[in-house]
């Protein structure tokens, strides 16, 4: 603390230390803010078409669904954005768990956090199994979200729906080139 430069650098260093404490307090405090997000997906329609995919006749599933979710309570002072997705989960003979994202959305304000989507289709993501055919499958659909903070920890969660629809047979019998 001999001259003005040293005083300024001492203040700056101390302010930085305090700022990390402040950031840590914000990060920890936002873990203790409670929320009750709710949401559900209803499947209206599920069709399967055969297409050529990597030189194999492959089943593509097309889904039409209604999404209704209220995630406003996830917005607190440390929420930068929400990533919301509809995830299909199913089990097949060879794979015990398969998870596929069908639809997603990034929500950046509390006003937009009440999501209502009618007749939403999986246009952005293709719904294909790791094998060319789904086989006998009953999938569950859920709404997944994760909270992106301004600073701190990433937390996620999901609300499930128990409605399952067995996968139908493909609408076309073979692919015509």
């Amino acid at each position: 603390m001999y001259n003005i430069v040293q005083r300024a650098s001492a203040i700056f260093a101390f302010a930085m230390t305090v700022m990390f404490g402040l950031l840590l307090s914000i990060a920890i405090s936002s873990l203790y803010i409670t929320s009750n997000p709710i949401g559900k997906v209803d499947i209206n329609e599920l069709n399967i078409w055969l297409y050529n995919y990597a030189n194999k006749e492959t089943e593509f599933a097309f889904i039409e669904m209604n999404i209704d979710a209220d995630l406003t309570s996830l917005f607190n002072w440390n929420t930068k954005q929400l990533f919301v997705a509809v995830v299909a989960e199913y089990e097949t003979e060879l794979h015990e768990l398969n998870q596929v994202v069908l639809w997603d959305s990034i929500i950046r304000s509390k006003e937009d956090a009440h999501i209502k989507g009618n007749k939403v289709r999986n246009e952005k993501y293709e719904f294909v199994d790791i094998t060319p055919s789904f086989g006998e499958v009953n999938a569950k659909y859920s709404i997944y979200w994760d909270v992106m903070p301004y600073v701190g920890f990433l937390v996620g969660g999901k609300t499930g729906t128990n409605q399952t629809i067995p996968f139908p047979v493909p609408l076309n019998e073979k692919v015509y080139n």
Binding site: M1, I11, F14, A15, V18, S29
Partner: protein, 100 residues
Amino acid sequence: MSLTAEAAITKFLSQKLAEFISQAGIILFAIIGFVVGFLLQDILLTFQIFAGGIIITAILVLPSYPIYNQHPVKWLPPIQIENKHETPEQKESHSNEPMK
């Protein structure tokens, strides 16, 4: 100069006061920012208060106001023996003094 002597003179009364003001001020504004931001659920406000607090603290501490000069250091009078280390020019200037 030994290290202990240097350490001893770094803690003058006014320096102590300036250090206390700056540290207490910064911590205080961090706490105010946190509480206000949490209550109003506005993280931007927290950092505006904190930044404002740093600026206010800097204004209070950085310039050398008279209050920080209330306890000037009383140096010991220079010892005569030092004179023999002086360069000839300095000696000259010393010897010139009485003539003014």
